[in-house]
Symmetry: C2
């Protein structure tokens, strides 16, 4: 976890190299936006809901489900969720939207494209999109 204060973006990424690239691109693209990075769904739930680490192996779908079905008081229900993934499998795309993802983007293979797409994502969602909370 790279930050413990209020955050604009939570990165959930179990690939250390991809995680470092994403965080670096975010910090360059939107330096004023605090970013937190966690390794997996379990840590994401712990961060979002202050849950204990008793739920190992939580996948992205479960995190999405927890966010969308959470107590509105927690102000997470309508938080934008962008799935950024290696999978371009139709079933994964469909399932993510069914679980409430706002957007689904496949990771480019080339490093420069990867960085550029992370910047595009962050610019769009932090600079242009208006959040509900």
């Amino acid at each position: 976890m790279l930050n413990a204060g209020p955050v604009d973006i939570l990165v959930v990424e179990d690939n250390d190299s991809d995680c470092a690239s994403i965080v670096e691109a975010l910090q360059r693209s939107i330096p004023a936006s605090p970013v937190v990075a966690v390794r997996d769904g379990t840590e994401a739930l712990e961060f979002l809901f202050a849950r204990g680490l008793a739920m190992p192996g939580v996948d992205g779908f479960s995190v999405l489900e927890a966010i969308r079905s959470s107590d509105p008081e927690a102000m997470l229900t309508l938080t934008p969720v962008v799935v950024f993934t290696d999978s371009s499998d139709f079933n994964d795309v469909h399932k993510c939207y069914c679980y409430g993802a706002n957007s689904y983007i496949v990771k480019p293979v080339r490093f420069s494209d990867f960085q550029s797409v992370v910047e595009t994502i962050s610019q769009y969602w932090i600079k242009h999109n208006i959040r509900s909370v």
Copy 2:
């Protein structure tokens, strides 16, 4: 209506000047993507569901509701919807997300910014985002 074939983007805009600016920016930004423009919610429902024009005064919320609650066979349920509006009222933002909008963006006042933001929206959703259908 500017196009009658298969489309990538449906623009619903009752302000003629804004509509022309949006379509122009889309055609410049993503020339290979067919665009249809309609004037209001009634025409949007007619286009999306081939409904008759018996429902005057349909607002954006009703169109969103119709899209999200539509028959999955119609392949519209998970279609990305970007609200692009003059309103930055918190209640409108909140309501749009509750009705299933993927993203909410306030129209910039300056013409050059307006064009630039439309290009950003189109690049993001057509070039980067993967749709379910």
